[in-house]
Symmetry: C2
Subunit: 328 residues, 2 copies
């Protein structure tokens, strides 16, 4: 009744922003990400115990907040139902990156939790089932089940049985791909992703048009990943990020995650690409101001240096492409 | 062969962003603005003189830059052609607001120039013809021919003969309407509006969807203006501004005019409206970071105070609604 799993975060290049079903966590569009290496990782132990009166969650060494515990408990209910058990659980989870870094991702968290909880409950789930389970905790967690480049297919069915992630290419296939992360804020976001995407879908008059554009970008990115064609992938990554943040701005009330440093990084990456006469780097921003600059290993030192010199950049990390969820 | 005219700037609440014909300056959509009072005004004297070898332009007391003179000269060519004259002209133009305030608008400039130049050339143009002429200098100048609330109709004809501005309501109709302007940057913009809107129309996958949304907003705003219904107008003004800046961000390369202070003002206006339990103010941003906060006179002191206390705000102005172009 006890298991431990570890999962890495993933950073999407085709974004998840909008749901066709809130309860089942079914997205409006398919998304594509790279799974990061162990620098952005969550390790979680779940132990079901009939003697426990309620679920407990310890996060990075301290008791979690009530709302965090409640979210984990609701997720464990899904596992208990699936396994036909009723025991409460103790969950101990820790991240390899400081929670305050503004990178705290629910992706690695719910991927690790899905794996550990299902195993501890006696379930023996395949990767596809694990992806669907993790999805219920947090949409992007469905992608962290796999390593390398991963597509979370939106699917079409109402019950979500065709809505899960699949690996597009293994971690070893694109060894020199890097994500240089520039942290410009460690604040917690004011609008959570789930709430934000709901507002966008409901109020942005540009939301539907974005979905059409995403379909085209999905095809471009799938091909670029297959051929390891960074130059083809780079502009699409940036346009996709801009498009998502445009729809956020067009929402009512408007949602603004980017800050002045983010915009400065966008300009820096453009100038850097111009100076190379080709796409050496591509920025993408999630629901926050911190930049993820995808690049190729040989350009990484130059990009790190340029980012580090930029006013407003507090910390720089460099991630490679990593593995999917594993039991430890 | 000499005439002087004065025109006020206007601040659009339904924006002009995109052209269906670049040469004739025909917009992709109709737009609506309020003409400002004399605080944002340009006074221009044009004198045609057969002895002049070339056109000359004096701007705020100093010889203008070559590109500015060339733009005015190209506009005077249109007037000369219309009037059947060949004489070159001396143009002396001055603004009531400092050019460095980041408010320098081509709207008041080309409206005053169109009136002064056409009169000096012996033409006796009606307001509609004047509006079409001013349009050729700068699209938004077509609206500054009229005072009060003004709609520039996009028209449908290829030759632009149905593309001119009309007054929706006279300046005296909404006496307590105010525009509180918060200046947060006096830098010249890096991307000019004409160049920027061309990029958006060509590259933003959300551009077409925006045009559809604008049509709905035009209808809402026309009704709100007719009924002086500020509460109905306010959210539409803000959504329209957000929508334009969203399309700018979605363009490639992305166009970002807003700065951190702009976003701070957007939040401030939202909080202010929430504290009133109704729409007391509405922000709008042109192709620059400076905020135009439309409000009603009784809220203006509170809004001025709140804006003045905001970090990044350098200067505040308060404009009422003003008259159209006139000869002086």
């Amino acid at each position: 009744m006890r298991a431990t799993a570890s999962a890495n975060s993933n950073i999407a290049i085709i974004k998840y922003w909008g749901q066709r079903d809130e309860k089942l966590v079914l997205p409006s569009n398919s998304s594509i990400s790279f799974t990061m290496d162990g620098q952005l990782s969550t390790k979680t132990t779940v132990e079901f115990d009939r003697l426990l009166a309620k679920d407990g969650l310890v996060l990075d060494g301290a008791p979690a907040k009530d709302n965090e515990t409640a979210r984990v408990s609701a997720f464990l209910d899904l596992v208990r139902k699936k396994a036909g058990i009723t025991a409460r659980a103790k969950v101990v989870s820790s991240n390899t990156f400081p929670k305050s870094a503004g990178l705290a991702s629910s992706a690695s968290g719910f991927a690790a939790l899905a794996a550990a909880a299902s195993k501890a409950a006696g379930l023996d789930l395949g990767q596809k089932e694990l992806s669907m389970l993790a999805r219920r905790g947090s949409g992007s967690a469905s992608r962290s089940i796999f390593g390398g480049c991963v597509e979370w297919r939106a699917g079409k069915k109402k019950d979500g049985t065709d809505c899960y992630a699949e690996q597009l290419s293994p971690p070893g296939k694109w060894r020199d791909l890097r994500n240089v992360i520039a942290i410009s804020s460690m604040d917690e976001k004011k609008v959570g992703s789930a709430a934000g995407m709901k507002v966008s879908a409901k109020t942005s008059s540009l939301f539907a048009a974005r979905l059409g554009a995403v379909e085209k970008r999905l095809a471009l990115v799938r091909r670029a990943v297959r051929e390891r064609d960074f130059e083809a992938m780079a502009p699409v990554i940036m346009q996709e990020s801009d498009s998502m943040h445009a729809v956020m701005l067009d929402s009512w009330p408007p949602i603004v995650y980017l800050n002045e440093t983010s915009f400065r990084i966008m300009r820096l990456v453009r100038e850097l690409n111009e100076s190379h006469g080709k796409y050496a780097a591509a920025y993408t921003f999630d629901a926050g101001p911190n930049a993820h600059v995808y690049t190729i290993a040989r350009y990484a030192p130059e990009i790190r240096k340029a980012l580090a010199e930029l006013s407003g950049v507090m910390k720089i990390m460099e991630c490679g492409i990593g593995e999917g969820v594993r039991f430890v």
